[in-house]
């Protein structure tokens, strides 16, 4: 299972962090620090997989943003790479040609999307429901949506 997912910029600024297992605050900071230094030090076109303690680290750079996740030892690195890619696809669809700024300013949305995609460190959604079902679902939500659309958030 995935232990954590970090998004950070080329300058090492954290843009999003998700921890799938309980980790003490101090340890989190240490991991973030070590991940950014480790990943940012990698040369372009080198291997996307790293080791850190007993975890596998899989990272990928999309534009100016690094997506980096830590996996259990038995996980499949290539699969994780595709998970990252899928997440980027989802963000891209939601924001429309997603860029780092979208995520900086709307990080909570990025979290929501992530929560629907990964749950407890496992891929929750491997597929999409049949169209009819998803229409059915959105119909049910219609009411609530309208209710909130009428009240601007900010």
């Amino acid at each position: 299972m995935m232990r954590f997912l970090l998004l950070f910029s080329r300058q090492g600024k954290l843009r999003l962090q998700k921890w799938f297992t309980p980790i003490p605050e101090r340890e989190k900071k240490k991991i973030i620090r070590e991940m950014t230094t480790m990943v940012l030090a990698r040369k372009p076109r080198s291997c996307n997989f790293l080791h850190w303690k007993d975890l596998k680290i899989v990272y990928k750079k999309y534009a100016s943003l690094y997506f980096c996740c830590g996996l259990d030892a038995e996980e499949n690195e290539l699969l994780a790479l595709e998970v990252l890619h899928r997440y980027v696809e989802l963000l891209d669809k939601y924001f429309g040609n997603v860029c780092e700024l979208d995520i900086i300013f709307n990080f909570e949305k990025a979290y929501f999307i992530l929560d629907e995609f990964l749950l407890g460190g496992e891929v929750q959604e491997t597929s999409k429901l049949v169209v009819s079902r998803s229409i059915e679902a959105s119909d049910m939500l219609q009411e609530t949506m309208e209710e909130y659309m009428s009240k601007p958030a900010f």
Partner: protein
């Protein structure tokens, strides 16, 4: 944008689409969060950022505390708090408000509240208890979104103790009509199972229902649980195998709805999950495995698209195939698949290929062989990750033969990487396995370098961790069974424990002392190891328990017969009693400071000059002494035997010190008082004592050469022998130099993987240098080309060869090195070549182009030696000069007799015919002839019946107690017809080396109408008939030299000729008369090797080190058996005197 994403997105609970257009959710920079973010990005220093955030947090704090803040404002504040936390600033005051927001907010606000909770809190946080009720309420809500949010937060953070409170409601959701709810409920239960397995045990039947859910998404989610369950107890779920296989079959067959595809690959996540489950189910279970072979093959076959995801599936598939009960056909396909990974130009795939190899070589090390060259390339890869993975792979294929090379590589890697966890882990376990595997065969440099690595370096955290790792692993090793650990490893352990066990705080030194004391008591612990252990104890005895233990130990060892041990024990005794002194001698910190060692022992100068003034003789190096001794007694041909070399070891102290190795080696001179067995036990530890001699020969061969190859402190072990390289097939010499180096590296790394060659080089009829032996690779290796060549050129001899192949089966087997698939003709042909070349290396007669024969080659590992042409079709051309220099003055009668020579032996070197006891009975003539086969001496007895009558009841008996004789003539001869010749063949090898032996023969026969008669004869055989060349490389010679304990020195006369260097001339003379192999000649030194035939497939090596010194040849012989140097020296003397 792909359809997939579109669909994926549509299934996100539609709240996300609240913002009617994509991107519309972008905050206006004028919002508070926008301002904060903008403010922060504009800052230039960390300090300013800190100031700004502090201000922000203060503002947030004030706002959340205000009763007037609405939930909507609270939601916005919470997002800002999340942002501050992400930047690393604690906003713990807001946690409670996040819970409040989740409790009280309406859907959108609740959502942010839950998000903040899941980001802020840990499972252990007490705040979470406040959330339980909210969650419970939301779970029971009729609003789908509330339920979804509650299930989501439950799967992320939920206090373990409160699971029972919500479990029934979550269980209920498993039957919810909406698949999204069912799916989330399954995942929530999965989470519960992970953190509190006992609490969900009763709902296993419901998991099964989820597995059969009509919605593939729910089914897929349930696989997470099953993977976990099956991993823990595969036995209980074997009945699921068929279902899993069916599901996988359907997925692979594309039976799932299209929207499960990912880049047109059918449900990859599902496939991988199923493959993993199958791996657990089929592991070590043939019956279950058989159920899945078909579907595994199917997934392997169908995954053909060139996409990362396909490779992910393939990788998992390969892993499964190698985990379940093996099926040859599948394994083959999977191995092929690994090949695709390894050879891929994509670095990620290459990495996974190496990983897969690492995994599979644990089952079959040979699988690494086809990828040798790729692995070697990866070893020098610019990406350190690839390099590391390669080392991991090498670690798995470490065996006694390649251990040295692999350790070199590990150390090299260590030197260039900054220490980190993975390195420590890898190196730690490697060194442990390396030491326990090959400790005793290792060169002393390796443990020394390892210790230096531990000791060197600043006292950084990593260094400490590495040392601690070593201490920990060694302590646990010592707590186990230690009798099997190699001595050298025990020494390393002692040193490390002595130096670093203080790092391990929880461990009192008493425990370690006890462990060490146990080592001391072990019977098979060598004296050298004992002194290391005592040294470690000296460093450790700090507390009263240890002191008591130390005293105990001291009492036992201060009476030891070994002076080194006694001294160590005394040191321990004194230091353990005097804490102050001990603190001064062995300060706890700063042990690692480099000690200045005066290797010239100049502080003794005063003493020496006093002694000289008092009339003492000046010091002579042991070598010098030895020579003096030899010169004084130049006439004594009887050597002094074994007592002499032992006295040599006294110089080893200085020798070690100048090497500047680990500090504790200081007093570790081996066996000052050692005896013969001690020396041989120490093996490599007793360094070659050649001071006074220019250090041309190092531990691993010729030193000058090593330095030119690599400047590293520990040079590569395998070196090309200058004698062998020119003989390499042209295809090899054309390859660029680095490539050749790589190939050599490959051969040294992968040695011992294929056919399991015995470690002992000597135990084989074919003493090919092992690291030159290459496995046949794609038919391109020089060796296999040659072999086909030779088989082609010798078709005409096929019939003879077939005969021979029966006769010499054993030789065939033994001489088969790399190539394994050969026709009988080829095989026998090769055997013949071997025999020819090894039996008579001095044969020079080049008779190319005679009859149909092409050039025959000797296949010996990687080296193909082109021999002078012999043709089996024309026996006349085979009359090589006999080993004796005297021209064969063959009597006319000889000629017919030689034609009776069995065809298979006609190509070999042989002696002239010796008449035996023909005068006893003129009607019967006996003569004998020796044929020098590679693995035996064949004695032929020709029985010529000169009368018309037939001889009956013939029986020939050869006896000699020093020889092992076995009859090899196909049919035991019974009768010899009139005027005909019969031949008896016997193979003869020496039981023990002796200068000369007498072979007694008795031939009994009966003439028609006569009494039984007998003819006696005797035949003398000398040692040189049993000596064969030993083809070794310089490097191997160096290693063997160190491992042999029986040695002998003698000065011999030099042969002088007009056109040759005296050394070359002398060695050539020895070579031609005694069948020795000249390994190398460098300057005024030469090294020569030979072996004594002994039993089938056995041989005793003898090494000669020759040096020109004051117009004599100082010869130093070494061998594992005591008699051999003696007898061989006699023959050397004789051979040189005769010249």
């Amino acid at each position: 944008m792909s359809d997939v994403v579109e669909k994926t997105l549509s299934a996100l609970p539609s709240l996300l689409s609240l913002d009617s257009q994509a991107g519309a959710g972008k905050l206006s920079p004028s919002s508070k969060l926008g301002n904060l973010i903008k403010g922060i990005t504009e800052l230039t220093s960390k300090h300013e950022e800190e100031k700004l955030i502090k201000k922000e947090l203060a503002a947030i704090k004030e706002q959340v505390a205000s009763p007037n803040t609405s939930m909507r404002q609270m939601k916005e504040i919470m997002v800002r708090a999340i942002y501050c936390e992400m930047l690393g600033y604690q906003a713990s005051f807001s946690y409670i408000h996040a819970i409040k927001l989740a409790q009280q907010g309406s859907v959108l606000e609740k959502r942010v509240g839950y998000l903040a909770v899941s980001l802020f809190l840990n499972e252990t946080d007490e705040f979470l208890l406040l959330l339980v009720n909210t969650v419970l309420k939301d779970l029971q809500s009729t609003n789908l979104i509330d339920v979804c949010m509650a299930l989501t937060v439950v799967s992320q953070v939920f206090p373990r103790d409160m699971i029972p409170a919500i479990l029934p409601v979550v269980e209920e959701k498993l039957t919810h009509p909406k698949e999204i709810i069912r799916r989330k409920a399954v995942l929530a239960l999965y989470k519960f199972y992970l953190i509190a397995p006992n609490q969900v045990q009763h709902i296993h039947s419901k998991f099964r229902k989820a597995l059969c859910d009509k919605d593939p998404g729910v089914m897929a989610a349930s696989l997470h649980i099953y993977l976990q369950l099956i991993k823990e107890s595969p036995e209980s779920y074997k009945d699921l195998t068929v279902s899993m296989v069916t599901i996988l079959g359907q997925v692979v067959g594309g039976k799932l709805p299209m929207d499960f595809n990912y880049h047109s690959i059918p449900a990859p996540w599902l496939q991988i999950q199923l493959l993993r489950i199958l791996a657990y189910l089929g592991k070590e279970d043939q019956g279950t495995s058989e159920l899945m072979y078909d579907v595994l093959e199917d997934s392997l076959r169908r995954a053909e698209m060139n996409h990362n995801m396909t490779y992910a599936i393939l990788f998992e598939c390969v892993k499964t195939i190698f985990t379940v009960h093996p099926k040859a056909q599948l394994l083959e396909k999977a191995a092929e698949c690994i090949g695709n990974f390894v050879l891929s130009p994509k670095i990620n795939l290459k990495y996974l290929g190496l990983k897969a190899l690492t995994y599979v070589v644990q089952q079959d090390a040979n699988l690494a062989l086809p990828h040798q060259m790729t692995i070697i390339e990866c070893l020098d890869h610019s990406d350190i990750i690839i390099k590391r993975e390669t080392l991991e792979l090498l670690f798995r294929i470490t065996n006694a033969q390649n251990v040295t090379v692999i350790v070199e590589k590990m150390l090299e890697f260590l030197r260039m990487t900054s220490d980190d966890y993975s390195t420590i882990d890898l190196v730690g376990k490697t060194m442990n396995s390396v030491f326990s595997l090959g400790g005793d065969v290792m060169q002393p440099d390796i443990p020394n370098n390892f210790l230096r690595l531990l000791a060197d370096g600043v006292d950084s955290v990593e260094d400490r961790r590495m040392r601690l790792f070593a201490v920990d692993s060694y302590v646990s090793l010592l707590q186990g069974e230690t009798a099997q650990l190699p001595q050298r490893f025990l020494q390393v352990i002692s040193w490390v424990l002595g130096e670093y066990s203080h790092l391990r705080e929880e461990q009192d030194s008493g425990t370690i002392m006890r462990l060490l004391a146990r080592l001391l008591d072990q019977r098979n612990t060598s004296t050298e190891t004992r002194s290391w252990v005592l040294g470690a104890m000296t460093k450790l005895c700090s507390n009263p328990v240890s002191v008591a233990l130390a005293r105990d130990v001291c009492e036992r060892y201060s009476g030891s017969l070994n002076t080194v041990l006694r001294q160590r024990a005394q040191e321990l005794m004194i230091l353990s009693q005097d804490t102050e002194l001990r603190a001064r001698v062995l300060p706890a910190e700063g042990r690692l400071e480099h000690l200045e060692v005066d290797s010239s022992l100049s502080f003794l100068d005063g003493y020496v000059s006093e002694a000289l003034a008092a009339g003492a003789a000046p010091y002579k190096s042991p070598h010098q002494r030895q020579e003096d001794l030899a010169q004084e007694k130049a006439l004594t041909l009887e050597p002094y035997g074994l007592s002499l070399p032992v006295s040599l070891s006294s110089c080893s102290v200085t020798d070690r010190l100048t090497d500047g190795l680990s500090p504790t080696l200081l007093s570790m001179s081996s066996g000052l008082s050692g005896n013969g067995t001690e020396l041989s036990h120490g093996g490599g530890s007793t360094t070659l004592k050649l001071d006074g001699v220019k250090r041309v020969w190092g531990k691993e061969g010729y030193l000058a050469q090593q330095q030119s190859v690599e400047d590293a402190p520990t040079p590569p072990v395998q070196l090309p022998s200058p004698l062998l390289s020119p003989q390499r097939p042209p295809s090899q010499t054309q390859t660029p130099e680095p490539d050749q180096e790589k190939q050599q590296l490959a051969s040294s790394l992968f040695v011992g993987l294929g056919s399991h060659n015995s470690v002992c080089l000597m135990g084989r009829a074919e003493p090919a240098p092992q690291h030159f032996r290459r496995k046949p690779r794609g038919g391109s290796s020089g060796a296999s080309e040659r072999s086909s060549d030779s088989s082609h050129s010798s078709r005409s001899a096929a019939v003879d060869n077939l005969l021979l192949s029966n006769l010499l089966d054993s030789t065939t087997v033994a001489s088969e090195g790399g190539a394994t698939t050969t026709t009988p003709q080829q095989t026998s042909q090769r055997t013949l070549d071997h025999t020819t070349s090894n039996g008579s290396p001095h044969v020079e007669g080049k008779e190319e182009g005679v009859a149909a024969g092409g050039s025959l080659s000797l296949i010996r590992g990687m080296v193909a030696v082109v021999l002078p042409t012999h043709t089996e079709t024309d026996p006349q051309s085979d009359l090589h000069p006999a080993p004796h220099p005297a021209p064969a003055l063959e009597r006319p009668g000889d000629l017919p007799l030689t034609s009776h020579l069995p065809a298979e032996l006609s190509g070999l070197a042989r002696s002239e015919l010796t008449p035996l006891c023909s005068d006893q009975d003129p009607s019967l003539a006996l003569s004998a002839c020796r044929v020098y086969k590679e693995d035996a001496l064949v004695v032929l007895v020709f029985i010529v019946n000169n009368t018309n009558s037939t001889l009956h009841q013939m029986a020939l008996q050869l006896t000699c107690k020093e020889l092992e004789i076995s009859c090899i003539s196909g049919s035991p001869l019974k009768e010899v017809k009139g005027h005909s010749v019969s031949v008896c063949l016997h193979t003869v090898v020496m039981k023990r080396a002796s200068v000369q032996v007498e072979l007694a023969g008795l031939l009994s026969y009966q003439r028609p109408l006569g009494q039984p008669q007998a003819a006696q004869f005797s035949l003398s055989l000398s040692l040189k008939h049993f000596i064969r060349p030993l083809t070794v490389s310089t490097g191997e010679y160096g290693k063997m030299w160190l491992s042999f304990s029986h040695d002998l020195k003698q000065n011999l006369r030099l042969v002088t000729t007009e056109h040759q260097e005296p050394l070359t001339a002398t060695l050539d003379a020895l070579k031609s008369k005694l069948h020795l192999h000249i390994v190398d000649i460098i300057g005024s030194e030469g090294i020569v090797a030979c072996r004594l035939l002994q039993g089938e497939g056995h041989g005793q090596p003898c090494l000669l080190h020759c040096r020109v010194h004051a117009n004599t040849l100082a010869v130093w012989l070494r061998s594992p058996v005591p008699e051999l140097p003696d007898s061989l020296l006699y023959h050397c003397q004789k051979a040189l005197t005769e010249t």
